[in-house]
Symmetry: C2
Subunit: 214 residues, 2 copies
DNA sequence: TTTTTAAAAAATGTATACAAAATTATAAAA
DNA sequence: TTTTATAATTTTGTATACATTTTTTAAAAA
């Protein structure tokens, strides 16, 4: 009861630029703002009900993060995706190896849960569990720099996933399961190898679907 | 003559937020703004001779890039440096391996030049050549994402280098030479291994010097 | 003395205004 | 018709004003 009130008050007090940031980010990620769309400060300001100043600020932030480029929603090419994955494979490969040696018990349990939801959950749940699988592994490095870099890349990758019926990608759950198992058995070499292979498959699936669709 | 005029005109027309960005960045990197210093928008605006609006924008950009944190010049800890290097070692290790297979002839020549300046140049030249050595290798990946990430990290690392008499680090030139040689001989494994070792040494040198100084 | 409290000052977040630049629409020429 | 030139419109970059929040300072209480 009290908590609810606090939350509501807080929500009102949230800085306009945070509102703007979240509003624009959401609309980009859920596809309402299509790739290539020009973002006009004044129109967005009106839509959100604030002035241009905080809208500007949030656009600049999203520009830094890579979701906006030259006032337009990014429209990454095949090549961009390849480049992103080249980095991702290096970092997440390392993360998986790291997990095989240093992962906590709780994290391992959560990881297992994510794998299981892969076969028991509905589309929504599976999607979310799959993302969490990677987040847990990356998070276990306890390296904020690494976490931040991957987070940023993931939101760009998400733009591709949308257009792609990603949850239907074959073998995805099996691959997650194998990675989990290698980590469980403290087999770092194998965990890294499997993660890299897994992400390579992801990339290829995305690229293929793009060709088919566009 | 004509060119000079154009440059001057251009310089005048440069957006205020670019001026602000460069001004603040320079002052952070050359140490005039010490680590931990609070950045006050109005004071900077006055100093540069513009209004707060573009100053704000540039501060936000630098915040995204990691040189400013919560309105203060970053003051990275030992741990931060370790985390940065953990990522750097992965990416530059890969870059070195990549170079062993795919580097152009010109790039190789330039790389050799950098190594040579290491023994013939003055302090200034050596410092700059050492930085270029890494830039060339990373640049050869042709992966803008990777280049961007490393660039960003390097400016934070630079904050440490300043306080440290970096050009005197033992074996640095020799290590660069060995990496160059491995690349020249198309020995990817060795290039990667040596690069990782080299960066690890860099990290440890920085950490040691920090302890001594502070 | 150290700790609290109240007042003053400084700094930030946001709105608004306006000139310069970029874009779009319209009319004239090829 | 297409192309070019001009005018109208939109959009951006910057300055400025002001209310709210944060920080600092000074005074009072413990």
């Amino acid at each position: 009861m009290i908590r609810e009130t606090i939350v509501l008050v807080k929500k009102d007090n949230v800085h306009a630029y945070v509102q703007a940031y979240e509003y624009i980010r959401d609309r980009i990620l859920n596809g309402e703002l299509e790739r290539g769309t020009k973002l006009v400060e004044e129109r967005l300001a009106e839509e959100i009900g604030i002035s241009r100043t905080p809208v500007r600020e949030s656009i600049r932030k999203l520009e830094q993060e890579g979701l906006i480029k030259q006032k337009r929603v990014v429209n990454p090419s095949d090549m961009d995706l390849r480049h992103i994955f080249q980095v991702r494979i290096l970092l997440e490969g390392f993360a998986a190896r790291h997990c095989a040696s240093f992962m906590t018990e709780e994290a391992l349990v959560k990881l297992k849960e994510c794998v299981d939801i892969g076969s028991t959950g509905n589309t929504e749940e599976v999607m979310s569990a799959n993302n969490e699988f990677h987040d847990i592994i990356v998070g276990a490095t306890n390296n904020p720099m690494m976490i931040d870099i991957i987070d940023r890349m993931q939101s760009i990758i998400y733009l591709f996933r949308k257009t792609v019926v990603y949850h239907k990608r074959p073998f995805l759950i099996e691959e997650h399961h194998d990675i989990y198992k290698a980590i469980l058995l403290h087999n770092g070499d194998e965990a890294e190898r499997l993660m890299k292979e897994h992400l390579q498959n992801d990339l290829e699936f995305c690229l293929n679907r793009m060709e088919t669709q566009q």
